[in-house]
């Protein structure tokens, strides 16, 4: 009996173990990656609390440093430019200094992409960001608040390319920019180069011919004490290294954005190695 009580108490103590809080930013890819991280941790036997769709970079980062969040997927370029504000630093070393762990790179580079409609691109001969000079007088840009506010966003781009647009950008929620572009409300938006919607809405991502945007290699950031919450957590995260290349990420994004499939299902397929095609037919 006594042994039974002890076991019960131990069991209670174990189940009271705090869950690992997994976050993500508020766009499809980040949510999918957050879900993948969460599922990976769960399959390693960890208890997970999902806080996906949390808001922008700064919200996620301050939640990490305050301890409200244990892990999320961040991009190297964002970390260097926007969080650390040291574009030349070594990101892993800089994170160690902040008491965080810059973990395994997932394998793709999701840099910013300046996106236009395909018909505009072919009519005005737009292939690279430099070509935007031809349409700067009439194009209406439209961006999320972060891209307008960030020093490595719109203003930096105008400066780097020596562009001057006649119209000030319209600012809106990031999630509405594709819809605004597709509805001819704006003519130029800033998206991510792995966005599935680029293909599905008939849009074109312009080539960053002056290499203005830094690399945005996705990596799992975690707090150093993550293994104390769940042994094997960091090992599970490590197994995500090199899981997705650019094309795979775009396909995974399209499964959710284009085909409107459930994030958890798509994440599960991506983890099991058949991201697109095969999984979709099986679902039918």
């Amino acid at each position: 009996m006594k042994r039974f009580v002890v076991a019960l108490v131990l069991l209670a103590a174990c189940s009271q173990k705090k869950p690992i809080v997994v976050g993500s930013k508020n766009f499809t890819e980040s949510v999918i990656l957050g879900e993948m991280v969460a599922q990976k941790l769960e399959s390693a036997g960890c208890k997970v609390d999902r806080r996906l769709n949390m808001g922008g970079t700064f919200v996620c980062d301050s939640a990490m440093t305050s301890g409200a969040l244990d892990t999320y997927v961040e991009y190297s370029g964002t970390a260097l430019e926007a969080i650390l504000k040291q574009p030349k630093a070594d990101v892993a070393a800089a994170y160690t200094k902040r008491g965080l762990h810059w973990g395994p790179a997932l394998g793709f580079n999701n840099t910013f992409a300046m996106i236009v409609r395909r018909d505009d691109a072919s009519r005005s001969g737009l292939r690279s960001i430099s070509d935007l000079g031809k349409v700067a007088a009439q194009f209406q840009p439209g961006f999320g608040y972060e891209f307008v506010e960030r020093p490595d966003g719109w203003n930096g781009l105008l400066h780097a390319y020596g562009l001057a647009f006649a119209k000030a950008p319209k600012t809106m929620d990031l999630g509405l920019t594709y819809k605004a572009l597709a509805s001819n409300e704006v003519d130029l938006i800033a998206g991510n180069s792995t966005d599935g919607l680029i293909e599905s809405l008939g849009l074109v991502a312009l080539d960053d011919d002056r290499h203005y945007f830094p690399r945005y290699d996705a990596a799992v950031v975690s707090r150093n004490d993550i293994d104390r919450k769940c042994g094997g957590a960091s090992h599970a995260l490590e197994s995500l290294r090199g899981m997705l290349d650019d094309a795979a990420m775009r396909r995974v994004n399209f499964e959710v954005d284009g085909k409107k499939r459930d994030v958890a299902d798509v994440a599960r397929e991506a983890l099991s190695g058949h991201a697109a095609g095969a999984g979709a037919t099986k679902a039918r």
């Binding site: 700064f58 919200v59 506010e149 319209k170 600012t171 809106m172 929620d173 999630g175 509805s183």
Partner: protein, 201 residues
């Protein structure tokens, strides 16, 4: 910065004033219609309830491609805010008129009032406190909800809030949130004075 806050607060008030104004013009007749045609009225009230449950970003998503009322900018924000403001106004008009004592209504009928006279001389005056309360609720809530206008390029105090959230700049967030709170309080005080006056008749 102060000039910006004043200008954007003005923008915010404009959005709310237009939206609540239009919601009053549409909502009171709709509320009256609901009392006259109970079956259609029930459907209308359900639809208005359902609108309330649509998240604003989803509503914007629907509205952006719609010609005339959609797009990116203040117009779309106002349309959304009108839709959200309908519920308290229509509902309170409906409830206010329904709540008129049947004896009073019968007395009016006995006096030979036409249904038009009955509405304007008996039912609406008696329902007025409830209607004004609805307008008050719509306005106070509208001042808060109008901060989402910034999500669709519509301006208003949400602009500060969205920029502040994007940059984790608390001062910027407060520059949007505090004037909005002050506006809501002022509107509440003013409209509750109107409400008291209406009740005294």
């Amino acid at each position: 910065m102060t000039a910006d806050i004043i200008r954007i607060t003005g923008e915010h008030m404009l959005i709310v004033a237009i939206a609540v104004g239009v919601a009053i013009v549409l909502g009171i007749p709709l509320g009256i219609y609901c009392t006259r045609n109970p079956r259609a009225g029930r459907v209308a009230l359900r639809v208005i309830d359902a609108i309330q449950t649509i998240p604003s970003l989803a509503l914007f998503g629907f509205l952006i491609p719609v010609p005339f009322i959609g797009g990116i900018g203040m117009r779309t924000a106002i349309v959304a805010l009108i839709l959200y403001s309908l519920l308290p106004i229509v509902r309170n008009t409906f409830v206010g008129i329904q709540g008129v004592d049947p004896i009073v209504r019968d007395a009016g009928v006995a006096l030979g009032l036409t249904s038009r006279q009955l509405l304007f001389d008996v039912e609406l005056p008696l329902a007025m406190p409830s209607i004004v309360a609805g307008i008050r609720i719509a306005t106070v809530i509208g001042i808060g909800v109008a901060t989402i206008a910034a999500a669709v390029g519509g301006g208003g105090l949400g602009t500060f809030i969205f920029r502040g959230v994007a940059m984790v700049d608390t001062r910027l967030i407060l520059a949007g949130a505090l004037p909005a709170a002050a506006l809501a309080l002022i509107a509440d005080v003013v409209l509750s004075a109107v409400e008291r006056r209406v009740i005294k008749g």
